[in-house]
Amino acid sequence: MGSLEHANVFMRILFLSLCAIIVGSVLLAQRGREMFIRRIPGLTAIEEAVGRATEMGRPIFFSPGLDGINIVTLQALAILSYIVRLAANQATRIIVGLRSPMVYPVAEESVREAYDAVGHPENFRSDDIRFISDEQFAYALGAVGIISREEVATNFLFGAFYAEALILTENGRALGALQVAGCPEPTQIPFFIATCDYVVIGDEYYAASAYLTREPTLTGSLVGQDICKAIVIAIIALGVGLATVFAPEKNFLLTWLGGGG
């Protein structure tokens, strides 16, 4: 083995089981099973942050990260959709700054949809969904410009961020914006912790939509995710056990996962 170009039998079984568990617990939740979710402070803060902008009568800035259309960005847009619903009810403006031209139509459409869904289509302003630049640092400068010129009260950064993250948050902080940031990849989290008021770390990012909306589909999925994580832990525990007992070339789990050889 030793190749990861295509799946082997073990990977097929593992992948299918993980998928089945997630989909299964979604179905269970949809049938009405109650699911518990623990408190996630960074996400609880979203409501407070939107409220602050409303009180101050100033807009909110939202960045869905720098990636194109991928899973990270789609999750960011799902969070955006929730925030728009909160803000639309309170007639608070949201400015979305985009880096990928591909994400632009998707953001425009889902924000419009969110305004429709809460019955305020008249509050939607196409101008507020802005493509800034596809160049990383031109995007950063452009976003800082918007944050300062529009006197943004609240700054939401959810999505894939890279080195430019600190340029956004340090300026946002200096301008007095309340900042909530979330990024699945760990690399920029330290800088968010240093400069933002609330930070959503790692997997909490993917738990966001479930936590915020409490929709059965999403909470069910979250419970399924926990079971899957337990399976990953079990695999690691088994792998460590095997590594302790056998030499690497006899560790079949290693081979099954495409390692060794």
Binding site: I71, E109, S133, I201, G239, A243, L253, L257, G259
Partner: protein, 226 residues
Amino acid sequence: MNPDLYILWAAAIATLGVYTILYRENPISRLFEHIFVGLSAGYLIVATWTLNLEGKWWNPMIHDKKWYWIFAPIVGSLFYFIYSRRLGWLARLIMGLFFGTAAGTFFRQFFPIYSPQIYACFKPLDYQAGMGIQGVIFDLLLHNWIFVIILLTVMSYFFFSIPHEGRFGRNLGRSAMLGRWFLMIAFGAMFGNTVMARISLFIGRMQFLLKDWLGSLIPWFATRGL
């Protein structure tokens, strides 16, 4: 023409212009922000054509007479229906295609990305022949134990559906707290690890401003070592 002198001055002024933002967002930084965004927009169009469309789309369609490539802009144009209320669903259709691709791409990447990370955690917790233990004070076995413990406690922090009270939950709560501590250590280490790289960027800019630019005006600056 020889553009070198213009490049030198334009670069110096642009650099200083950007640095004014350190005081606060101001008319000068705003001007350079707009120039930067404008240049990148122009460059985006040029690059999309020269690096992508010309070779992958225009030449095959016109020169190789593969006329079916005309479907690409037609399908792409569906995105533009977002501006129409009645026809908006066509834009969603093409977005659906890209959503599916995003999901499928993640399915493909799942094992290639995460498998090596998982099996790299298979560390023996007992002596293995050929391990080649180097003793300073902390030897490899202790390292492996630390590694596995940190990994598991950090993962326990990311369980959302188990309350941190009750018989099993209380233990999970403790483990999650430990996990949070390790997370903070890791974040601190990542922060510290980035400082030097960021300062090099500024040193590089200052070398340009002092040696290349000021040095061209006042030779003394060019003689200062760097």
